[in-house]
Structure formats: structure tokens, C-alpha cells
């Protein structure tokens, strides 16, 4: 397997976050009253208010990872936390920022199930603790043909799995999102067959690029981005990145995933980013990087082909979409 070494990207150099913060200060300042009132009426204003209400905490001891993607302009904190697909909190892009503010992420338990040495519940903090936090800058390509570059903070999924010690018969790993309609208003609407579920083949899950993210921009993961812990698999469409995980199950059968259950003609198990296999309703050949005007060409495996293509030798990617 080829792993390209990438030089460190310091997001502070690329994205002027200080500038963003200063802009917010300005907004909150003298002109803030008038501008704020007007902004509150706009679609983004709501999301902005939501992001501010949660409070933000820096994560300690985050080390940069050589597996980060280099040479990309990172999207602003505002874009990453204000434009989300997280249907448990509503289907509009600004719904999660608004509706997830009071979401309770501590205490939080992850239940480990299935073909594994010691099944049972694990508290989130003891789940994360054995691993060093790494910053991973990745491209994120949504199936809806837009993309972002996100500085995640996470732990390698492969290391987590090794620690959990699945049995040799385990071929797949399956993840489930919390299913709590009291906290997640979107669950009261049968848009998908809840709870949200996702899965990976074991070798995909063990791949060094796969991580469980617990933060972004060096801070604790905002609720609307899938707090307290979510999956990030950068060569697959964004919907594979299941959020707010409460169950991890090891199994010998290929799991059904939420979008595949909802519409098997449009969504498959693999969901690898692939510009030559269109979604039946739109082309996947190009994408709009948020913040850019012109579309750009979508790259095979979202540009991570050097690292991951070998996972799929011999697999018909047109049929296994």
C-alpha cells in the first residue's frame, strides 16, 4: 500500500481564522445589533447563532498527522459547522446547527457487539483515551456534488478495532447512530429507516485513512457535525461518515446501510467517490468546492486512489457503487 507523505499543513496559515474571529467580534460589536437582527432573519444567521450558543473547547495534545491532505485550502469553521447533512436534526442544511445546540454528548456510551472478544458498553472517554488525538485534514465529497476540506481531529479506526479485538470470523463492522427522538427532532419523521446505520468491510475500516473523529479545527466536535464521535472515510461519499455513534457491531455478513435501504437503486454499500458512476439523478463527474465559483472535476476515490485503490482490485466498481 502506498502512503504518500505529506508536509504539515497549518490551517492557521491557510484559513485566516483570526480574521473570521475578528469578523465575529465586529458583528457582536457596535454594528452588531442591527446587522445581527438582519442576519438572524437569513438562512445562515440561524446557523451562526446556533454555532455560537454551544460554547467551544480546545482539545489538548493534538498532533499533526502525515496522513493529512496537503495543498488544499481548508474551509472556514463557519461553513463546516453551518452547512450539514444530519437528518436526525432536520433535513435542511442549517437545521442541524439550529436543532443540535442542546444535544447531550456526556455521559455517552458506545456498545460493542457481535463477533468480538469482549462485547459490552464502553464509556466514550475510556473509549478514546488509549489513543493519541491526530489532526487529519481531509477532503469531504458529499454525494450531492459539493465538497469541503475539513481539519478533523480523530483517532485511527484501525487502532480502535485492534484494541477491541474482533474474532477472525468478523468480516464487516457496522455502526449505529443514537436513536433518541426526544433530543433529535428529525427522528419523528420517517425520512429514513431509523436508526441511521452504516458499515465498512474490515479492510476498509482498518485502512490508515479511516478515522473516528472527535473534533475539528483543534476543538471539540460541534454537535451538528456528529458529536461526540463520528466516522470519517475520506474516499467515500460523506453519508458513509455516520455521526453520533452509539453501537459498533462486528459481523460476518455485509450490513445494509440506511441510504441503501431507503433507495437501493441510488445508493450502495460501498459509496466510493467515483466520477464515472453517476447518481441516477445527477452527474458525479464534477463537484462544487464550497467557497469556489467554478465546478471542479471529481477525482476517483476523492483523490485518495494512491492509498486505497488496492482495496478494490478485482471488484466491479460500476456494479458495487
Amino acid at each position: 500500500m502506498l502512503l504518500r507523505k505529506a508536509p504539515d499543513v497549518r490551517y492557521s496559515e491557510i484559513t485566516p481564522r483570526e480574521l473570521y474571529l475578528r469578523r465575529r467580534e465586529f458583528l457582536q460589536g457596535a454594528a452588531g445589533v442591527a446587522v445581527g437582527a438582519a442576519a438572524a432573519l437569513s438562512p445562515l444567521g440561524v446557523a451562526r447563532a446556533g454555532a455560537q450558543a454551544q460554547g467551544r473547547a480546545k482539545l489538548p495534545n493534538v498532533k499533526k498527522s502525515p496522513l493529512s491532505t496537503a495543498g488544499e485550502k481548508i474551509n472556514s469553521y463557519e461553513d463546516i459547522t453551518g452547512y450539514n447533512n444530519f437528518y436526525e436534526f432536520g433535513t435542511d442544511k442549517d437545521d442541524p446547527a439550529r436543532n443540535a445546540q442542546k444535544f447531550v454528548t456526556r455521559p455517552w456510551t458506545i456498545n460493542v457487539e457481535g463477533l468480538v472478544k469482549t462485547p459490552g458498553p464502553i464509556d466514550i472517554d475510556s473509549f478514546i483515551k488509549p489513543h493519541a488525538l491526530e489532526e487529519r485534514v481531509y477532503r469531504m465529497r458529499c454525494v450531492e456534488a459539493w465538497s469541503m476540506v475539513i481539519p478533523w481531529v480523530g483517532i485511527p479506526l484501525g487502532d480502535v478495532i485492534k484494541r477491541l479485538a474482533p474474532l477472525p470470523t468478523a468480516k464487516y463492522v457496522e455502526f449505529f447512530t443514537l436513536n433518541d427522538s426526544k433530543q433529535m427532532p428529525g427522528l419523528r419523521v420517517p425520512v429514513l429507516d431509523w436508526p441511521y446505520r452504516e458499515g465498512l468491510r474490515m479492510d476498509e475500516a482498518m485502512h490508515p485513512l479511516s478515522i473516528l473523529a472527535v473534533g475539528l479545527y483543534g476543538e471539540v466536535l460541534p454537535n451538528q457535525n456528529g458529536a461526540p464521535i463520528r466516522l470519517v472515510v475520506p474516499w467515500k461519499y460523506g453519508f458513509k461518515g455516520i455521526k453520533s455513534i452509539v453501537r459498533i457491531r462486528f459481523t460476518d455478513k455485509q450490513p445494509r446501510t440506511s441510504w441503501d435501504l431507503s433507495n437501493p437503486r441510488e445508493y450502495g454499500f460501498y459509496a466510493n467517490v467515483n466520477p464515472s458512476v453517476d447518481h441516477p439523478r445527477w452527474s458525479q463527474g464534477s463537484e462544487r468546492r464550497l467557497g469556489e465559483f467554478f465546478r471542479r472535476k471529481t477525482l476517483m476515490f476523492n483523490g485518495y486512489g494512491d492509498q486505497v485503490a488496492s482495496l478494490y482490485t478485482g471488484l466491479d466498481l460500476r456494479r458495487n457503487y
Partner: protein
């Protein structure tokens, strides 16, 4: 000014609000992280709203006997066309920047785009023949031609339905409105015939 003139100008001003809002959000940086997608959805939805509103005029008139309301129909229809033009231009200029090949392939390959284009092409002749001169010149044929708006309402609603990935709650409301409004027309055509059979 008569009461009706006030109503007419109020509706005219209100109909410009969705466009003004876009301009305002543009200058205040509030068009979301994905402005092109937002503008597409906003203008498309507004076009459909006006299309539905234009279809409510005749039932309103017949049910309430308020005859003057008919004078609003052309304006509502033209606003539907105005927002449809903005919607289609957004797609052509902002979304694809005149990439004719990609747009053509989408019109052919993507049923939801095919229906959007169908809707737009149905609206063009209606807008072109909306002048008083045209109404006079076409006579009975004008009425027949303008029945195309029923088809446009149906294709626009299906276009919307096929846009969404899973959450059909919003298009469902438009579908319900269109079904109700078209049922009036079917009923008015069939009721006299039923009577004549008796």
C-alpha cells in the same frame, strides 16, 4: 386609488420581496455556504409558488364571486415566469457557466432536469402571449393555449419531487395544492355533462 388598485400594487410589491431578499443576502454574505444551490432552490420554489397562486385565481373568483380578482392572474403568472427565468439562468450561468455539453447531457439523462426544462418551455409561450394584443388576436385559441399551465404545474411539481433525496414533505404540499386546484377544473368540465346525461 380604488381598493383593488391598492391590492394589486401590494401584491406586486410583495412579489418582488423574494428577489430583493436574494440581493440583500448577497450583500450581507448570507446566502449559506453553498450560495448557488441556495439561489437555485429559492428561485425554483418561488416560481412554483407563483404558478400555484396563478391557478388559485379562477377558483377563488368562482367560489366567491369576486370578479375583479381575475385581473391579478396575468401578474401572478408573469411572476412565476420571472422567477423561473432567474432559476434557469442560475442553473446555466452560476451552476454550469455555459458548459453547454454538460447541460445538454443533464437535460437528456436526468429526468428531473428534463421535467424542469419541459416546465420552462411550457411557460415561455404563455408569457409571450400574455399581452392584451395577443389575447385579442388569438381569441378562443388563447384560452386553449393557456391550458398548458395545468401541465406546467404538474411537471413543475414532479420536478420538485424528484429533486429531493428522501424528504418529500415539502413537494407533497405543492402536489396536494395542484391536485386540488386541478380537480376544480375537472369538476367544472364534468358537472354539466353529468347533468345533461340525467
Amino acid at each position: 386609488m380604488t381598493r383593488f388598485t391598492v391590492i394589486r400594487w401590494t401584491i406586486f410589491a410583495a412579489a418582488l420581496v423574494p428577489a430583493a431578499a436574494l440581493v440583500y443576502w448577497l450583500f450581507t454574505g448570507n446566502l449559506t455556504a453553498n450560495p448557488i444551490d441556495f439561489i437555485t432552490d429559492w428561485t425554483g420554489t418561488t416560481a412554483l409558488v407563483f404558478l400555484v397562486l396563478s391557478l388559485t385565481v379562477t377558483p377563488l373568483r368562482r367560489l366567491t364571486g369576486w370578479n375583479e380578482v381575475i385581473k391579478l392572474r396575468r401578474m401572478l403568472g408573469l411572476f412565476a415566469f420571472f422567477y423561473a427565468c432567474l432559476h434557469v439562468s442560475t442553473w446555466m450561468v452560476l451552476d454550469w457557466f455555459f458548459d453547454i455539453a454538460s447541460m445538454a447531457s443533464d437535460v437528456v439523462k436526468r429526468p428531473f432536469i428534463t421535467l424542469g426544462m419541459t416546465t420552462f418551455l411550457l411557460l415561455v409561450p404563455l408569457a409571450l402571449t400574455s399581452t392584451a394584443g395577443m389575447i385579442r388576436r388569438l381569441g378562443r385559441r388563447w384560452t386553449q393555449l393557456h391550458r398548458l399551465v395545468y401541465l406546467a404545474a404538474i411537471t413543475a411539481t414532479i420536478h420538485f419531487w424528484w429533486v429531493v433525496k428522501a424528504d418529500v414533505r415539502e413537494p407533497r404540499w405543492y402536489a396536494l395544492a395542484v391536485v386540488i386546484l386541478l380537480t376544480f377544473r375537472v369538476w367544472w368540465v364534468w358537472k354539466p355533462r353529468l347533468h345533461s346525461v340525467h
